[in-house]
């Protein structure tokens, strides 16, 4: 996966995306026991194109030019299907801005904070998100005060209470 992350960093350096961070099941796996997944969810902040249209097309074009192929909603980058998810709301923008800097082998990368992964799961609201919240609560080193502030800022307190009590 290190080569995959190197390619993502290159996309960022080339200005095709302004910032990226790992989220989804693999983001959760950073903090908890390994969680089965078949794709790597990568949240991205895209440069604003002309006409205020946010599009992943330049990223797909650049990856195609490097020989990487699309597989459904993912692009196979060095053997890992990567799904690019543009930050489309305030919670995701905040999560990307405050993502945790880390390294994978010799490659610098970013992973969403555990508190944001939990808040995003609450916002998304599927059964598997509920299970993710349970796992994060049980195993991740959550900062309770920080999490409460995130949930309050994004009006997620009611569902959080419903899911966790």
């Amino acid at each position: 996966m290190e080569k995959t992350l190197q390619v993502l960093t290159e996309l960022e350096h080339d200005g095709l995306l302004l910032r990226y961070a790992i989220g989804g099941a693999m983001g959760a796996t950073f903090y908890v026991e390994p969680v089965l997944t078949f794709d790597l969810d990568v949240f991205v902040i895209l440069p604003q194109a002309a006409g205020l249209l946010l599009t992943l097309a330049p990223i797909y074009d650049a990856l195609r030019a490097r020989g990487y192929t699309e597989e459904g909603e993912c692009v196979n980058i060095e053997g890992v299907p990567v799904q690019f998810l543009p930050a489309h709301n305030a919670l995701l923008e905040e999560a990307l801005a405050e993502a945790r800097e880390t390294s994978y082998g010799a490659t610098a990368t970013r992973v969403l904070r555990a508190e944001h992964l939990a808040a995003i799961a609450v916002q998304t609201g599927r059964d598997k998100d509920r299970e993710r919240v349970r796992l994060l609560l049980e195993q991740a080193p959550l900062d309770g005060e920080y999490l409460r502030a995130v949930l309050a800022r994004h009006n997620l307190e009611a569902r959080w209470k419903q899911w966790t009590t």
């Binding site: 290190e2 796996t29 078949f38 060095e78 890992v80």
Partner: protein, 63 residues
């Protein structure tokens, strides 16, 4: 009822051991966890494919 009561400490010990193992897994370095995820993919992929869900096991390069 007596047999159930005798089982309880053993079951409690097994549950505690399982919980401890999960916390040990959570504490592994990220690249090691990624390798475990790929092992899980290998185990589950045939079942999912048999159910008609096309999945691809990651082919990690350079890890």
């Amino acid at each position: 009822m007596e047999a159930v009561d005798n089982l309880r400490p053993e079951i409690a010990r097994l549950i505690a051991a399982k919980q401890e193992r999960r916390h040990k897994l959570a504490a592994l370095p990220f690249p090691e966890k990624v390798r475990i995820v790929v092992q899980l993919q290998r185990m589950v992929a045939p079942v999912l494919r048999a159910r008609g869900r096309p999945v691809r096991v990651w082919h990690l390069t350079g890890d």
